[in-house]
Symmetry: C2
Subunit: 161 residues, 2 copies
């Protein structure tokens, strides 16, 4: 009874391919004492000047509960400032500090250098295709995809066999 499914695990392939790329950047990022998520946020703030936590979540693909902790630690490290908006006490403005501005200006060019190296190694066409295919996947609407009907829920965790 071959249990082999008809489709290879696509999300897992994404995971593997992503790791394949990231392993070339991780050493650079950790060299500066940052985590990958912290660098995503620094890079976003470097490009957008100022953002609200909610906007950073969307842009960097980090969930809100994680964001709270990440920003707290970054504030502690002196990498960002958090200021409540006077006109709406729920919202917050996040900015880079002089220190992190400096950090980004040093780290950014190194990342770009690494991209160039990877582009040569992978072949420029592959990189181009990558961006293109990714965009097409992301562009595919989430909504209109129908959902399969699920069988009645069993409590597998407590089922005895």
């Amino acid at each position: 009874m071959s249990r082999k499914l008809a489709y290879r695990n696509l999300p897992q392939l994404f995971l593997k391919a992503r790791e394949e790329l990231l392993c070339h950047f991780r050493p650079i990022i950790t060299h500066f004492g940052l985590t990958e998520q912290q660098w995503r946020i620094l890079r976003a703030l470097g490009e957008m000047e100022q953002l609200e936590p909610r906007e950073i979540c969307e842009h960097c693909h980090i969930l809100s509960p994680s964001m709270t902790g990440v920003l707290s630690r970054m504030e502690e490290m002196g990498l960002v400032t958090r200021v409540r908006m006077p006109e709406d006490q729920r919202r917050v403005i996040v900015r880079l500090t002089p220190k992190s501005e400096q950090l980004v200006s040093e780290l950014g060019p190194l990342i770009v250098e690494q991209y160039k190296i990877i582009e040569q190694a992978f072949g420029p066409e592959l990189i181009k295709e990558l961006y293109e295919v990714m965009d097409r996947v992301i562009a595919a609407e989430r909504g209109p995809i129908s959902r399969i009907e699920l069988p009645p829920k069993k409590d597998w965790a407590n089922l005895k066999f």
Copy 2:
């Protein structure tokens, strides 16, 4: 001073695209009381009959320290058995249980159904291209890619500005 880097954040695009796919499978997996990682392991064991933790780590892209906890919880739930190899007490054999065999045989077809739906929504060519591009990225050798030289390390976390 526009800080915009020359390259879009490619690992982040992978993250987004992966999430775009996974959000169609996650409801199915959680419906059965599983996490995504647990399903990856169950699927692998369903196809390979028996595996050692080290092999599962490679196949499912889960690091060894995480694997310890995941397998412990799965053993606790009665989803896998762990047996030490007599001839080499360091190694362990992991297998499905009758319960999880049953689970996989129920869950697997639902996953396949969802793939078919996604394939129709995305277009079969896109899926095909996806698999192809992913494989090319993964095939790109990790070794021969040269590393940029890093500047002397500063302790950014404690630098005062």
